[in-house]
């Protein structure tokens, strides 16, 4: 099929698109030159930056006034499509608001969704999206059948962002139709969790801890090591579920995907859920007392040992270097 019109669900703040939006736009412009960004919020402030990554237009809803993004964005998109502005493919980030919007829109349009993808291609008459399964050991490619728009979401860092040198995108204001009862949820307060140091998904070094740490107070060693290396602390789902650290620390399938230069896994066995989020790291160091732990199958350097002994010595050694 010929792809004539592609949209990307883009987000950003203070004039800067998210790295996620830049990655998706970079991929999308290889599918079609007629590329638009859809922003559920103030799209005008992002127009210049989105243009740099190839967006010709930015559809902007303006401030949503406390409405949740999913219903509002899906209603606006559905109205545009009903009005004849019909993209062949819409790319979404695999994140909270991206997922909500894609899901709502699929019901409004009566079309399927393909999620958790790492690639998309046009093969002859088909649009094919690829997702890794079984912890990334198998690549599963699925073709859309039936009428578009084809809705697909992608994992972070699936594509390397590259600027196209494009001019500022044309801002097109779009209205958000009244979605009735479905839009009844309202945001009453916004809480931003302050973190010091680099962000987990942008850090050059990530040190993650898991259940092998034994108890929550031992997570302090992970934080200290991360700080010494100017990296970010992360966590396995097990200790997030156990309440040791907030969800924002979670690396894995249902958490953040990280691809740092160095990933240090301390007391993490390497469940599929976790491996999906860190296997793309350039170098992996694992410390675990179980020599059969799956994490060692992906580690460049594996230490079979007790994290309670190895980490304090490692921290001391790094401190003594000053």
């Amino acid at each position: 099929m010929t792809v004539n019109n592609v949209w990307v669900f883009a987000q950003g703040t203070n004039g800067n698109p998210t790295s996620f939006a830049a990655e998706l736009l970079t991929k999308a412009r290889s599918l079609s030159g007629n590329l638009s960004a859809f922003v559920a919020g103030d799209g005008a402030s992002l127009a210049a930056a989105l243009g740099k990554f190839g967006a010709k237009k930015v559809y902007s809803t303006g401030d949503l006034g406390g409405r949740l993004v999913g219903v509002a964005a899906a209603s606006a998109m559905a109205a545009m499509i009903a009005g004849g502005n019909k993209p062949d493919i819409i790319l979404f980030p695999q994140n909270y608001d991206g997922r909500d919007t894609l899901a709502r829109l699929s019901v409004k349009l009566g079309v399927t969704v393909l999620t958790n993808n790492i690639d998309i291609a046009v093969n002859g008459n088909e649009v094919v999206a690829t997702t890794p399964i079984f912890g990334g050991n198998v690549l599963f490619a699925t073709a859309f059948t039936g009428a578009g728009p084809h809705l697909a979401s992608f994992r972070p860092k699936s594509f390397a962002a590259e600027e196209s040198g494009g001019a500022s995108a044309e801002v097109v204001a779009v209205t958000v139709p009244d979605a009735g009862k479905t839009a009844a949820a309202k945001v009453t307060a916004v809480h931003v969790q302050e973190t010091s140091g680099p962000k987990l998904d942008e850090a050059n070094i990530v040190v993650s801890g898991g259940r092998g740490l034994g108890e929550s107070k031992n997570y302090a060693m992970v934080e200290e090591l991360a700080k010494l290396l100017h990296g970010a602390p992360g966590a396995s789902r097990a200790i997030v579920d156990a309440g040791w650290v907030p969800y924002s620390y979670q690396v894995g399938q249902t958490g953040k995907v990280v691809k740092p230069s160095v990933y240090i896994a301390a007391g993490i066995s390497g469940a599929t859920q976790h491996m999906v989020g860190m296997k793309g790291s350039k170098n992996i160091i694992a410390i675990n007392k179980d020599k059969e732990a799956p994490i060692f199958a992906v580690a460049d350097l594996g230490i079979v040992g007790d994290v309670h002994k190895v980490l304090p010595k490692l921290i001391e050694a790094l401190k003594s270097r000053g």
Partner: protein, 261 residues
Amino acid sequence: MMEMKIVVCVKQIPDPATPGSLDPSTNALSRSGKLILDESDAYGVEMALQLATAAGGGEVSIVSMAPNGEMSGMRTALAMGAARGVLVSDPALAGSDALTTAKVLAAAIQKVGMPDLVIAATESTDGYTGTVPEQIAEVLGLPSVTFAKKVKVDGGTLKIDRQTEAGYDEVECPLPALVSVTAGVVEPRYPSFKGIMDAKKKEIVTVTAADLGVSPVGWSGAGQKVSSVSQAEARKAGQVIEDDGEAFGKIVAFLETLKVI
């Protein structure tokens, strides 16, 4: 106080501790054999039980969809305290996409009787498409709050802390509504012996997709087909050493060669 009727969507999955496999004839995830309650759903069942108790009463029902009539996972939810269940069991459902799944579960919820609240996990552990809860809300015409990490009901209004990229939002939503809950939102109870015995007597109504009037379903209703399945490039294991008390030195040396210290 008002009584709350709550329906929890649950999924029965192969034990995640066993390696997954694909059905060689269809390339769908193999879901044969004994299925267990998806651990992610235990949080939703627990949340529902706690909200019903806090409301001073009510009823917690569960709905599930499975191609092969499997009920063992649903029995776990009933043993925790849910009152009854509807299972949509139909070989025709095999191969259904997420949209069809949402339509089937929405119809099953209506069969139970429209509740005040629908609860689901954010995604299943085996297929993790991650869109079904929000799709169910849209099919039922309900507002929804996804990725809830804290849920309260206050005078017919939901008060929720919703996970965001930067932290969390406080969200208010009138009932009826749908909520998807993250793992860890509450601590799921273990079924008691009495609960397990009682669960055997609780009613699970089995219906087909046709009984619910949902068609087409399965492979023919899916807007997608398997294109190819291939092995990903495997990451090679490197050096694995036993800690002799000095292994930290190997890490320091490795970090030095990588020029990060």
